[in-house]
């Protein structure tokens, strides 16, 4: 089914946060610290305030107090501390954007700079063991004796991979429009969750949640960067309150590299041991990553290794360095994405060591139950994905020898990697209503950040109600609707859809009671998944997939082109094939960027991400995407949710970089273990 908001989006009628027409709205612009660590001595705003059209300057000097300062990133101007370069230290509000921007450069902040450390290394003296990793996984796990298994192995690999910091870079920069009315706050915000966003903002301002309303009917992408309110939301609200007028603020693309989150860089050691038959005897994955000085974010990089392959001896660990950097955060498949790059690259290396086809190696080590927990899988179709993909891609008969296929100036190679992502679900509520006109409306405070949620929920409701989709409307993107979890963790459709189904079933029962007659006031019914979720059986619930890449590498220049990319996924029941395919392919496209070009470069001298725009932080263009496709295996899994679906927003990016890296090795014989696979790492 086509996207229900398709016409609005192609005609420019779909409004995003910054775009709501509000009488008398003013423009705020943020001023950022240009030291990575220290104290603010003075903020001199005189020149800015003297500029006609400037309405206010906010900073630590005389800023309004916030009720809750537990989240450093949101506790704007509540202290004189600078914890990273690019932190917001002041803001200016003006009648027009042009004046605000001019005034921004007139604000002079003086600092007492401190010693800083922004360099992540595998031997950083400050490495420590966090109590848990995101969101609540054990930091370390272990069974058996990995060292002994490595020593006794017939084949083994002990390799270290690195991935750089990556920035989500949704196309719509974070933006907020804030209005206060009689002490109530309304925000039009570019955010992935309106209910949780409302609660966070209310907490910061010390307001009861019902005095805050967050609208986000259309969100221009997020990929985790808009998973919670970012400083822009608080700043716009503070400015609006200060000048008693509506204020809007859009983060610039450059600023997005400072305070809207990013994926931590990682240093990952993977050890794999196998016996003569290619059965794994040990799997170990040890990760070093960074967090900020002010907030701990511990990416769950090695957790996929806990469920992927069977082996009696195993271990995973995460160690963090606290640096004077912005706090890393969620970026599409935090954990699985960089972690599976390392594991699936190492599996390719092991296959070569064992003299086995990399698909065969994975099939031989596919576990019957979750390797560490021993739980049964609700469904696991990795092997089916590998087999179906091999057939579709033309894998059979692949000559494993690297560096021997030449087409003109190109060396050609193919690679494979597995994908996985957990099935999460959070409690959610929804209502379903029918009017006397026979039109149905389901309402849930979901957000559509490009996933197709509005469309999918319409389909789910129509199916649950047993009515044509044309008679159903899904209302989302408003915190006044029944509370819902964030569009994150690939759990949106599973969580929201379950509540919608419950509400629709209740509405059908209510309709039956009315014998089908709808009163003038309509009928409304309610669904809440909390109870159903609490009663779920204990299964290991994960989606799986297999990705196949064909690359061409220019022998003279090291340029890499991905000529074919195929993903085969097993993710429960696919509710809307059209938008699902786009989700998978979109993730794979971002994975291609990770493999070949994306990299946020830390400026070690000045302490920020140096390449902070789209000319320097390269994301794939349409010219980088050649033959790309995603297909799926229908799974019938009764242990998931009423729709039988698994999440699909993130799994597409998991494994792509490994498949491409493995293909580059097959093409050239070169194993690049540091992403991205830039030309300077292949040329010469």
């Amino acid at each position: 089914m086509n996207r229900v908001e398709g016409v609005a989006k192609v005609t420019g009628q779909a409004r995003y946060a910054y775009e709501y027409p509000v009488e008398g709205v003013c423009h705020a612009v943020a001023v950022q610290a240009d030291i990575p660590r220290g104290e603010i001595i003075r903020v001199d705003a005189r020149e800015a305030l003297a500029l006609p059209g400037v309405l206010a300057v906010l900073s630590c000097e005389g800023a309004p107090e916030l009720a809750d300062t537990s989240d450093y990133e949101l506790a704007l101007f509540q202290s004189r501390t600078v914890a990273y370069r690019g932190q917001i230290v002041a803001a200016v509000v003006a009648e027009t954007l042009e004046i605000a921007r001019q005034a921004q450069r007139l604000i002079k902040v003086t600092y007492r700079p401190g010693e800083f450390d922004v360099r992540l290394t595998g031997t950083h003296p400050g490495l420590y063991r966090p109590d848990k990793v995101n969101p609540a996984y054990p930091t370390d796990t272990g069974q058996g004796d990995v060292e002994a298994a490595m020593a006794a192995a017939d084949s083994s690999v002990d390799v270290t991979y690195t991935t750089p910091a990556l920035h989500n870079n949704p196309m719509e920069p974070h933006a907020t429009l804030a209005l206060w009315e009689d002490g109530d706050l309304t925000l039009y915000d570019s955010i992935q969750g309106v209910s949780t966003g409302r609660d966070s903002v209310a907490k910061v301002f010390g307001l009861p949640p019902e005095q805050v309303r967050v609208h986000a009917p259309h969100v221009g992408g997020g990929f985790g960067a808009k998973g919670s309110p970012r400083p822009n939301a608080i700043l716009a609200a503070m400015c609006a309150r200060a000048i008693r007028r509506p204020v809007k603020l859009a983060v610039t693309r450059q600023q997005m590299f400072s305070f809207t989150g990013y994926r931590t860089p990682t240093i990952q050691r993977v050890r794999l041991a196998a016996d003569a038959g290619g059965l794994l005897t040990a799997v170990a994955h040890d990760v070093v990553e960074q967090t900020s000085r002010v907030t701990e974010f511990a990416e769950q990089t090695a957790i996929a290794t806990r469920i992927m392959y069977g082996a009696p001896n195993r271990g995973t660990s995460h160690r963090l360095a606290r640096l004077d950097v912005p706090t890393p955060s969620w970026m599409r498949a935090p954990g699985e994405c960089p972690g599976m790059y390392a594991l699936e690259s190492a599996m390719d290396e092991l296959a070569i060591e064992c003299g086995l086809d990399p698909i065969e190696l994975r099939i031989r080590n596919d576990p019957a139950t979750a390797p560490e927990s021993g739980k049964p899988f609700s469904s696991r179709n990795l092997v089916a994905c590998l087999r179906a993909g091999a057939e579709r891609f033309g894998w059979d008969g692949r000559d494993p020898r690297p560096g021997i296929r030449r087409e003109g100036r190109w060396l050609v190679g193919t690679g494979v990697a597995a994908s996985t992502y957990p099935v999460y679900r959070s409690p959610c509520r929804a209502t379903a209503r029918v009017g006397p006109d026979g039109r149905y409306t389901v309402a849930v405070a979901a957000t559509d950040i490009g996933t197709g949620a509005r469309t999918t929920l319409t389909l789910i409701a129509a199916a649950a109600l047993g009515v044509p989709v044309e008679r159903v409307t899904a209302e989302i993107g408003d915190s006044a609707l029944p509370p819902a979890p964030v569009a994150g963790g690939s759990m949106g459709t599973g969580s929201w859809g379950s509540a919608v189904v419950l509400a629709c079933r209740a509405l059908r029962r209510a309709l039956d009671e009315h014998a089908g007659a709808v009163p003038d006031t309509g009928i409304e019914a309610y669904g809440d998944t909390a109870e159903e979720l609490a009663g779920q059986q204990d299964f290991a619930r994960h989606a799986f997939g297999a990705q196949f890449a064909e690359v061409r590498v220019d022998t003279g220049t090291g340029e890499v082109r991905v000529s074919r990319l195929l993903g085969v996924f097993a993710a429960g029941r696919i509710i809307n094939p059209k938008t699902a395919r786009s989700q998978f392919i979109g993730g794979m496209t971002m994975g291609l960027g990770m493999a070949l070009m994306e990299e946020s470069v830390m400026d070690h001298e000045f302490g920020d991400y140096l390449n902070h725009d789209f000319a320097q932080y390269h994301v794939p263009t349409i010219a980088d995407i050649r033959d790309i496709d995603a297909v799926w295996i229908e799974e019938d899994d009764a242990h998931l949710n009423p729709m039988g679906s698994k999440g699909i927003g993130e799994i597409g990016i998991v494994g792509t970089a490994a498949a491409i890296g493995n293909a580059v090795h097959h093409a050239t014989g070169r194993r690049v273990r540091d992403l991205p696979i830039r030309i300077d790492r292949l040329v010469g």
């Binding site: 042009e98 001019q102 220049t557 070009m597 320097q616």
Partner: protein, 325 residues
């Protein structure tokens, strides 16, 4: 952005006179780089003299068999010009290798020549940069420079010139026509751009108030077979890591003449004169191309992290010359 006065000029003399009346005037072409730099705070003119309305929007054949390209011609028009495609394909290819369709529709020939470096430090006003703020230092030299210069850099600047078009023009020996307070003059390329030395704030030899009005391409019949090849970090829409503009004149298996210029390697479009000298009169073979390229790169001085550009550029040169055989 600082406030500025906007004036639209209708002729070159008027433009120059208007320019001279303000202390920090700049000429505005398509604005694709200048507006970008103004928004970053890198450029802060108090007067913009819009020169896109000047009568320099034509591409005309010259009596000597060359082309005269008005400075206000848009990049997309120049790339699509039939005479350019026929006689100087390297120029059309260079233009099309640069930027995006949207940017080429705005960008002018004059503005393209005067683009400023995309060195990350130059573009960030919160950091030192000798080019932007003379005497403040060059963090790129010891910092992030994996895509910066390998030729002709100095202690004060290791930036590269970003234009593709200028590389092709340098190879073709284009002549830049200038009007200015001191009257008209002509500057032969690659002489328009200068190496950074101690004064990296000056990208070109233009004096304040001087305005590019045209670029003349001299007749070069063998340039009808010429090529531009650009290597970058994604398939399209990125600045060059290395680019090569080349034309080759071969008779009886011997190189009679050749033109080779490089982009992405220096503060200027780098005309490979040593390579050209070495190649003239040599057999037109891969071996000769390799020897000539090696001669050129003997003078390269790569920085800590950009030595890969030497084999890369050499391979691209050899590949392009082979294609021109």
């Amino acid at each position: 952005m600082r406030p500025f006065v906007y004036r639209r000029a209708t002729d070159a003399q008027g433009a120059v006179a208007t320019f001279e009346a303000a202390p920090h005037a700049m000429y505005l072409g398509g604005g694709t780089n200048l507006v970008d730099l103004m928004r970053l705070g890198v450029a802060s003119p108090d007067l913009l003299v819009d020169v896109t309305g000047l009568p320099y929007d034509q591409v005309e054949e010259t009596p000597g068999g060359g082309l005269r390209i008005g400075a206000a011609v848009r990049n997309s028009d120049l790339a699509a010009d039939a005479a350019v495609r026929r006689s100087y394909p390297v120029l059309s290819q260079a233009l099309l290798a640069g930027a995006s369709g949207q940017l080429r529709n705005l960008a002018t020939v004059g503005g393209n020549l005067l683009q400023r470096t995309r060195c990350p430090y130059f573009q960030d006003v919160s950091k030192p940069c000798n080019k932007r703020d003379p005497g403040s230092g060059c963090p790129a030299r010891e910092g992030e420079h994996h895509n910066l210069a390998i030729f002709g850099h100095s202690a004060s600047c290791v930036a590269t010139h970003p234009s593709d078009m200028a590389v092709a023009m340098a190879a073709l020996g284009a002549v830049v026509h200038v009007e200015g307070p001191g009257g008209p003059r002509r500057i032969g390329m690659p002489g328009l751009h200068r190496l950074p030395g101690d004064t990296p704030e000056r990208d070109t030899v233009l004096e304040p108030g001087e305005l590019i009005v045209a670029v003349e391409l001299p007749a070069l019949p063998y340039a009808a077979r010429s090529r531009y090849r650009k290597v970058r970090e994604r398939a399209s829409f990125a600045f060059a890591v290395v680019a090569v503009a080349a034309a080759l004149d071969v008779a009886d298996g011997v190189v009679r003449d050749c033109r080779v210029a490089l982009g992405g390697v220096a503060h200027v479009p780098w005309r490979a004169e040593l390579l050209e000298t070495t190649l003239r009169g040599a057999p037109a073979t891969r071996e000769s191309f390799v020897v000539a390229a090696e001669a050129e790169f003997a003078q390269a001085r790569p920085l800590r992290d950009n030595a890969y550009k030497v084999p890369l550029a050499r391979n691209v040169i050899v590949g392009v010359l082979e294609e021109l055989l």
